[in-house]
Each structure stands twice: as structure tokens, then as C-alpha cells.
Amino acid sequence: MTDTPATAAANDDAPEESLFEAPPMGEQERMVEAILFASAEPVTLRDLAGRMPHGCDPAEALVHLRKRYEGRGVTLTRVGDAWALRTAADLGFLMQKETVETRKLSRAAVETLAIVAYHQPVTRAEIEEIRGVSVSRGTIDQLIELEWIRFGRRRMTPGRPVTFVVTQNFLDHFGLESARDLPGLKELRSAGLLESRPAPLPGGEDGDAEDDSQSEMFDES
């Protein structure tokens, strides 16, 4: 195709550029498509021209692109003097899931969840003992509503207190295959998540968690 003398016609002011032929229109269309797709804002014609190789004609490429997206799930829309790709208005109902507002879980909830995950099945009294503060009812309700914890079997001790365990949803959300895959204290430490010396634990009930911290104390030399 290079035997034709007609290289990029428009720019007499930049003679050294005319050595390069502008890409074919199909290619220009691809470029406009990619730029509009990846940009966080609508893009003006001028911006498009500035980002594409010299000699391109984004206005024409836009005409082709607009035609290509006609009737599709996405349409090329003009926003002021700029252009953007937008999902088709009639499909807005599909976007409902996108409108979820996410908030960070409170510290109390994260800690309660962590205790359930590491110590399950665990009673509310045990959670309070480990955290050292009382657990508000709202926190547990919230975790249950998120479907991250659920009621487990009742403990066969006086009062038959209810226990809590984590759910399959919890495992899915945190990308775990089972709660046993949660790293132990030793591993948290070696991953740099646990900076300080482990607190000496009260002699006790929780068997293996304690062992971990014990061995850590002596590994540390």
C-alpha cells in the first residue's frame, strides 16, 4: 500500500510526520473504542486526536463506531463536546447490583468475626472473654445478617448457651476453603501481621491456640 504517494494529507505544517501514513480507518476505530472504554471521563475529539497517531481522523472513526454500537448493550453517547460509551438505557435494570454501597466493617465486628472464625463453635460469653469487652447485640446481628456467622449447636453446659460458627458465605467471601486454613498466630507473625510479643495467656481452656503462642515465645531467640 505504500506505493501510493498520498500519505497523511492534512498536515503541511509537519512535513516530517507525513512520512508516516495514518493507520487504516478500521484500526482508528479500534483505537477510539479502546480509549473511550478505558477512560474514566468522556473524551473530547481534540483529546482523541492528541492521543492517536498523527494523521488520524477520530471524527470519522466515531461515526463508524457509533454505527457499530447501534442497538447493542452499549452505545456511543455524546456528552457535551465529548464522547463516552454508556450501557444502553433500557438495560439499566441489570445494574442494580452495581449500586450497592460498601462500607468497612467496624472494628468490633471484625474482631468478633475473627474470634468466631478462629474459635468456632464459640459462645457469646467466650467471645466477650477473649475480647475483654462485652459484645453488643447489634454486632452479632449484623454478622448474622451478612450471612457470615450463624448459630451452631448449643453447648452442653449449664444454661445450654447457643454457639456461633462461620458460614459457607464467609469462606467464599474471604477466599478460604475451610476455617482451618486461617493462618495461626505463628504464621501471622511470620507474615509480619503480628508485631509484638504474644501476650501470656491465662492458663487454659483454649488448647492449640495457646500452644502456638507458647512455642513462639521460645522460638524467638
Partner: protein, 260 residues
Amino acid sequence: MSETSLFASNVSERLAAEALIVDVDGFEGPLDLLLTLSRTQKVDLRQISVLALAEQYLAFIHKARDLRLELAADYLVMAAWLAFLKSRLLLPPDPAEEGPSGEELAAHLAFQLERLAAMRDAAAKLMARDQLGRDFFARGITEDVTRTRRVTYTATLLDLMQGYARIRTKDEFRPFVMDRDKVFTMEEALGRMRGLIGFAGDWTDILSYLPEGWEVDPIKRRSATASTFAASLELAKEGRVEIRQSDTFAPIQIRKKTHD
């Protein structure tokens, strides 16, 4: 460095040595160094001469020591192992000897080097791939059409683990104090034994000097045993008691030294 250059008569030799040695910190451990050395053999890693490699490594360690470079223990452990491997490769196999042959050991080292090289290569290939946010891109405008506004709460695995770590290390927030209620200090043990030593006439097991109430709880017992033992040694040093133990792990006994 200037001191050594006085002795190195052969400039090119010295440069060759320094090229490796100056850079000793640049190596990520002995395996990395061995891999670099093996490159000088300019053959497929499956055909390298492990014997020659062992010699190169030992020569390297030797030179590094001449230059008084601090070598990490790993490097010296590997040197010892390679010296052992070398002897196994050079000496005819002893039929009475147990364990793997020199060839097996050499083959494993060659395998390790090849595997490390392969992983380096794979890592380079991986990083050379087109990458998201550099070569290809995700949608720039994600559509958050406000229609249903449902609030969900989210936390990451890191949040969870950090939360747990936080609970388990609550003590970091209080000023550092040793928990002493289960510690029987040597001063206490000494005081106690000085008072009691006069009453026991003959050889007595030092465990009988443990204070009341410290024999049951294992943590307390351990502390009291240690301090009582240390105190016994101190008293023996002062010449106030004699100490004996009939056998390994046998009871340790003391008695008052009679000055006669």
C-alpha cells in the same frame, strides 16, 4: 581493599576475583551464587560438572575469606557440604558406607540449580506478559447507577487477621511489666536456702528446698526449680555447701559444708 591490591600482582586475576567477591552481598544465598558460577561453564545445566562447580565455590569462599569479607553462615555450611560432596565424588565408593552416593547428591544439586534457573526464567516470562493497567485496561467508567441503595459491609482477610492479631496482643497497649507472680527469683531462693541450709544435716535433694505452694503449678515449679538450682550453685561457689549428682538426670543433692 587497598591492602590486598598490593599483593595481587596479576591485575586481571584480581579483577576477576573482585568481580565476584565485591558483589557477595548481591547474591541471594549460596544457591544463587552456585547458579551464577555454573554459568561460567557455559553448558546446559544438566551437563554441568558438579565437581568443577564445587571447586569454584570453595575457591570463591577461600578468596572471600582472604579479603576478610563477612560471609553468612549459609555460605560456610554450603562450603562444608560441597567439600564433603567433593570427597564422595573423588573417592571410590565404600560399600560399607550408608546413604546416598556422591552421584546422587551431585544429581540433586544439579536438579536444584536447574529448577531455580527455570523459575527465574518463568518469573521473567511472567513479568514480560501484557499486564493489566500497563498494557491492557479495564473499564474506566464503572457504572454505579443509583437505583437501589443497599449497604453492605465488607472486610478483607487482612482486616480479619489483623483484628485477631490485635486481640491476641492486647498487652502491647499496657506499659511493659514482667508478670512476676509466677517467678521465684534467685534472690528469693538464696534467702530461703541460707536460712534452711543449717538445718539439713546430710545430703538432701535440692527439690526439697522448693517453697511451699510452688510444687504443683508447672510454671511456678519450673521457675522455683531453676532458681533453687542456681542458688545452690551460688552457695557452692561461696563454699557454704557441697553439691553432687550421681548420674545424668539423677536428683541433685546438697549438704552443708563442714569447716574443719
